[in-house]
């Protein structure tokens, strides 16, 4: 039988206090004789030595650090599915134009207001002439991608988005189009892409 006890001072052994009560589950105390105490000290010293042996082994082991921009252990490394990197506007593969229909839903839904679109034309002719995304404002919440009826906007897995001036954080339409052409939308999560395609077809494009 173990009992819950308040502990004081030096508790020998791996007894962790309960996070709720702060009490420790301690086995009933045996009398601490001199030999017992010496044995405990020896045991503790041995465990400490074992720990040092482990760290010493790791010290000589091959290092796992990838010195990324200078030396890349794995070329063309891509993050896992669902990674939200740089933005892109997707070009339709049939008409060779942007899929975007300038419905301004992404601009409206964006919580940080980082999208700015200037539309032009009416009906089927409606398209954006200017499309700005401020990457410095964006919080990568994915809402614009969710809301887009044309599946025109996405985030590519490109993680090398560092720039040297804040102005370059504002992506304009040419940049976004180029990104879309470079990455297409193959990197989107597959199911999301398929459902988007299906919906697009259903609307009778």
């Amino acid at each position: 039988m173990r009992e819950m006890r308040e502990t004081r001072g030096f508790v020998l052994g791996p007894y962790n206090p309960s996070p709720t009560t702060g009490l420790v589950d301690v086995p009933p105390r045996r009398r601490l004789t001199v030999w017992n105490a010496l044995w405990l000290i020896a045991e503790g010293a041995w465990t400490i030595l074992v720990g040092h042996w482990v760290t010493l082994r790791n010290f000589w082991r091959k290092k796992v650090t990838d010195q990324y921009p200078h030396r890349q252990a794995r070329r063309n490394w891509l993050p896992g599915p669902g990674y939200r990197g740089d933005f892109a506007l997707i070009t339709d593969w049939k008409t060779w134009e942007l899929r975007c229909i300038a419905c301004l839903q992404c601009q409206n839904v964006c919580p940080s207001g980082c999208i700015h679109i200037t539309p032009e034309g009416r009906g089927r002719e409606r398209h954006p002439v200017e499309f700005y995304i401020d990457a410095g404002l964006c919080q990568y919440c994915w809402l614009c991608v969710e809301v887009c009826p044309a599946s025109a906007i996405t985030m590519t897995p490109d993680y090398e988005t560092a720039v040297d001036t804040p102005r370059k954080l504002i992506r304009d339409i040419d940049y976004l189009r180029t990104r879309g052409l470079e990455f297409d939308d193959v990197q989107r999560p597959l199911e999301a892409q398929q459902t988007a395609e299906a919906e697009h077809e259903d609307k009778g494009e």
Binding site: R8, G9, F10, V11, I41, I48, G51, H52, V54, T55, L56, N58, F59, R61, K62, K63, V64, T65, Q67
Partner: protein
């Protein structure tokens, strides 16, 4: 005969004196000044090297590479960080006690620097040859006690509860661990029958087997000094005063800029001094483990080598063991180390009396 480079420095300052017509007695003053410059350069280099080494060792132990970017293998990372600290703004909290806030790092660093005064670097070579004191060890212990006041002043002066808690814990820890440290050192004093550090070294000069470490009755004090020394510089198994997970950064939470840098400097310099002390007490100080030899600067090299080995061991311990809890820390000191050090003192006394 060991080439006495201290004599060369002295000869150099004598030359300066005759050149500029300075009276002969001031040769000693000049030698002190040279010694002080030597120590100041040394602590800068030592602190930078120790911080670099710490980063590398921690990285290697965790299968990382550590700093690699600035300089050949990251060698310039620490100087660059020091430069960054120098140019950073010095922020003092609004309701802080400015006097004490400034006094904290100053006291800590000056205590650490003062400890170098009695270290025997080579045969008859201390700072300016004057401070080969009969009370060397007493001086060392006494001066290290002043650093504790720096912690209190810094912790209280920043008007922050984390700082205050860190300072209180730190002082409690330092006062407690000073007892086993001093008692373990007293065992060596019993063996050497002197308080002067250079005389202790002279008794261990004959080679590696003359070191005090190999006397069986002095092994327990050596272990105690190792543990208490690591605790004395607030390093990780004992870094309760700056426990990041509980107190933000302990007593230097509210420090920035060069004052923070001074805390860092003091920490690593203090570590090195404790290494030097350990080397002098147990590892033969500047004496070569091969016995007598006569290369120039040899003593300096040997002493540094031994001290750096201690520093490396301290880093190894730091990156292996987790932090103790406050009560565990104090219990370990008062229930384990202090009785053990008293026992060691008695054992050494009895052995030396009947041996």
């Amino acid at each position: 005969m060991i080439a006495d480079w201290a004599e060369r420095i002295r000869a150099f300052s004598e030359g300066l004196c005759t050149r500029f017509g300075i009276p002969g007695l001031l040769v000693d003053v000049l030698a002190w000044i040279f010694g002080a410059i030597f120590v100041l350069l040394l602590i800068t280099v030592v602190a930078l090297a120790a911080i670099y080494l710490e980063r590398k060792v921690s990285g290697y132990i965790q299968s990382r590479l550590g700093p690699m970017r600035v300089g050949p293998i990251g060698l310039f990372q620490t100087p660059m960080d020091a430069l960054k600290l120098l140019e950073k703004e010095d922020i003092v909290p609004r309701d802080a006690d400015r006097f004490l806030h400034l006094l904290g790092p100053v006291l800590l660093v000056s205590a650490t620097v003062m400890m170098f005064a009695v270290i025997p670097w080579d045969v008859r070579a201390n700072v300016g040859r004057w401070l080969d004191w009969e009370i060397g060890l007493l001086y060392l212990v006494a001066v290290s006690g002043i650093g504790m006041l720096g912690i209190v002043c810094g912790g209280w002066g920043s008007n922050n509860k984390w700082s205050l808690l860190g300072a209180l814990r730190g002082v409690a820890q330092l006062i407690s661990y000073e007892i086993p440290l001093v008692l373990a050192a007293m065992c060596v004093v019993l063996q050497a029958e002197t308080l002067s550090l250079s005389q202790m070294v002279e008794q261990q000069q004959a080679g590696i087997w003359a070191w005090f470490l190999w006397r069986p009755w002095l092994m327990l004090p050596a272990i105690l000094l190792l543990i208490a020394g690591i605790a004395e510089v607030n390093r990780t198994p004992f870094d309760i005063p700056e426990a990041e997970s509980e107190l933000v950064a302990g007593f230097h939470t509210e420090y920035s800029g060069m004052k923070f840098g001074l805390f860092f400097l003091a920490e690593y310099t203090h570590l090195f001094v404790v290494g030097l002390l350990f080397a002098v007490l147990f590892l033969g100080g500047w004496a070569s483990p091969l016995g007598g030899s006569n290369l120039p600067f040899e003593g300096l090299v040997w002493l540094n080598l031994k001290a750096w080995i201690f520093v490396l061991i301290a880093m190894w311990v730091r990156w292996t063991l987790p932090r103790l809890r406050v009560d565990q820390l104090m219990a370990m000191c008062w229930k384990l180390l202090i009785p053990a050090s008293f026992a060691a003192l008695v054992i050494v006394g009895v052995v030396l009396m009947y041996a």
